[in-house]
Symmetry: C2
Subunit: 337 residues, 2 copies
């Protein structure tokens, strides 16, 4: 079985954006916030997936996608706590419908109703709702709800601890995933995403978060940002600061996906990061949608790179494709049963 | 000849920090800004280098370091334009003294008196002073003088154009280099530096800066941040956005140094980035000061990695060690004559 740990519903029917547009128009006009309803039929959902994620799953020979709302659209910097709550609940409910229509193909991961500098009570409640009522198996945690101005406390700050307690209680991991940036210095998928990955890793390296939460698990997407490429720098910094060895730091708590869109990058990832800490992911349909003229294949068809990696044993491949995902997302077992 | 394009005076005599401490104390107390004088003897300068940069040059068999003030100490976010101007001038004058004492070993690159959201007139004047009067050959340009809050316009914004005109007129390149971060989300050398590299590259990719300035040259340090590791992502994004091929984008304008502290990272850099766009650099004495227990050698002894790279021909090595630096820093010729 091949489990893709990183897929977003980037192809949602237009009714979703129509609702969001109306919400933002109301916000702008000062009208009272209203949750309302999303108008999307089951057929529209099927259509949005059949020629996109499902087609690509079939073509690429992958089985299940751990599926969450479109990351760039979370936009936690817009509006207030209610704006974010209504939007997140609708997005999550839509993912739930996807999983209901295609239970063999998708398992849900939720967007959190984060909002800059606001306590995390809404996030805790939404995580509980999604896990307990919608059978979701994880969440996407945004380390920068300000959208590129980095105003929230670091992920290792006690600000987040109540939320982490709930993650541990529910036994669900979080993918560290920022959203669109409203800072013109950054490009959402080109630099903000990658920077956030690198930033989170360095936060984890310099604090004792996993002493406080030995069972807390994070997936750092996009192959860990810049981390594997600069592994020597991070080993050296950790050593200079008398921090643990990186392999000890990450062992049970930090995992990287394989969203790296060329063979030399994937080869580096496989060479550097212990195989137990790598989860197959493609970010499909996502940041890069084209075909690589150098290979004639989709840039984000990351299964191909893994299949071409001569260094990988069959046992290692099974870990990356399936075993590690089952370990990091224990609730996956119920969904796949 | 081996030219190290990336060295900072991280070992400056304590008189420099004493002056800075006094400046910051005056700033805090509201006393009028005074440039005053730095009290450092030539012997103190010699001592600060003999057991550090010069010793390491000899041990590693490198010849000349393109040398600039300590990057993390630039701290453009502190104080106002006058604070930054006085501090930068002192730091640059000290580099000039270093180059005067050891003209065969060091060539100067200047810190700029940047300050958040302030026009660049001081930077233009200081660049002219350093190049014309102190024989400096380049500058370090900070894309984020806010120190981790990213409040300045992108490097491709017209805000910077007057400065670029002066760079082109003087025929000097800039290394894109941030300073210390005052945002607790970032670690200065572990994430802020690397993020800035990635951010700058993506800015260049999405704009037509080099159409406006065909002769403008930037060095993106730390091996280009995350860029070579995610080269497929950047190729794919460029293609989706109908932007030029990356090799065309960077050809005459963007160069990466070799400050990547492990062999697999260097191997990736060499495999991905055209050899004409790679400059030898070590960041010595800098971010990582320890010895790698896996090799028994200093993490930042990047010459070793290049010497071990079987893929490099002698001609390629000469480009990386010397030829490309002479091309990117044309004023180097005069200094080395």
């Amino acid at each position: 079985m091949i489990i893709d740990c990183h897929g977003h519903y980037t192809t949602a029917p237009k009714g979703l954006q129509a609702w969001r547009d109306a919400q933002l128009a109301a916000l702008k006009s000062g009208a009272p916030a209203s949750k309302g309803a999303i108008k999307i039929s089951d057929d529209e959902i099927r259509e949005s997936l059949e020629n996109a994620q499902l087609k690509l799953q079939r073509e690429r020979g992958t089985d299940v996608t751990i599926f969450s709302p479109r990351a760039s659209a979370m936009a936690h910097h817009i509006g207030d706590a209610t704006t974010s709550l209504h939007w997140s609940q609708h997005c999550n409910d839509l993912i739930h419908r996807v999983c209901g229509l295609y239970p063999a193909n998708f398992v849900g991961v939720c967007q959190l109703p984060q909002t800059p500098a606001d306590p995390l009570a809404n996030c805790i409640a939404e995580l509980e709702r999604c896990v307990n009522e919608l059978a979701f198996i994880g969440c996407n945690l945004n380390p920068d709800p300000s959208g590129g101005y980095w105003g929230a406390p670091p992920l290792t700050d006690r600000y987040w601890y109540k939320f982490y307690e709930k993650m541990v209680e529910l036994d669900v991991p979080a993918m560290v995933h920022v959203s669109a940036t409203c800072n013109p210095n950054f490009h959402t998928t080109g630099s903000h995403y990658i920077n956030a990955d690198t930033t989170a890793f360095m936060q984890f390296l310099t604090a004792d978060l996993f002493k406080d939460f030995p069972a807390l698990r994070f997936i750092i997407p996009h192959g860990g940002g810049a981390v594997p490429y600069h592994w020597g720098r991070y080993r050296g910094l950790a050593q200079d600061m008398k921090r643990p060895l990186l392999t000890d730091l990450i062992r049970d708590n930090i995992f990287f996906d394989t969203c790296v869109y060329h063979m030399p990058g994937i080869a580096l990832l496989l060479k550097i990061v212990p195989v137990d800490n790598i989860l197959f992911g493609s970010e499909m349909v996502g940041a890069v949608r084209g075909i690589d003229p150098e290979t004639g294949q989709y840039f984000d068809d990351t299964r191909r790179y893994l299949d071409q990696a001569a260094s990988l044993s069959d046992a290692d491949k099974r870990k990356i494709f399936e075993g590690n995902a089952r370990k990091v997302y224990p609730r996956l077992k119920r969904s796949l049963a």
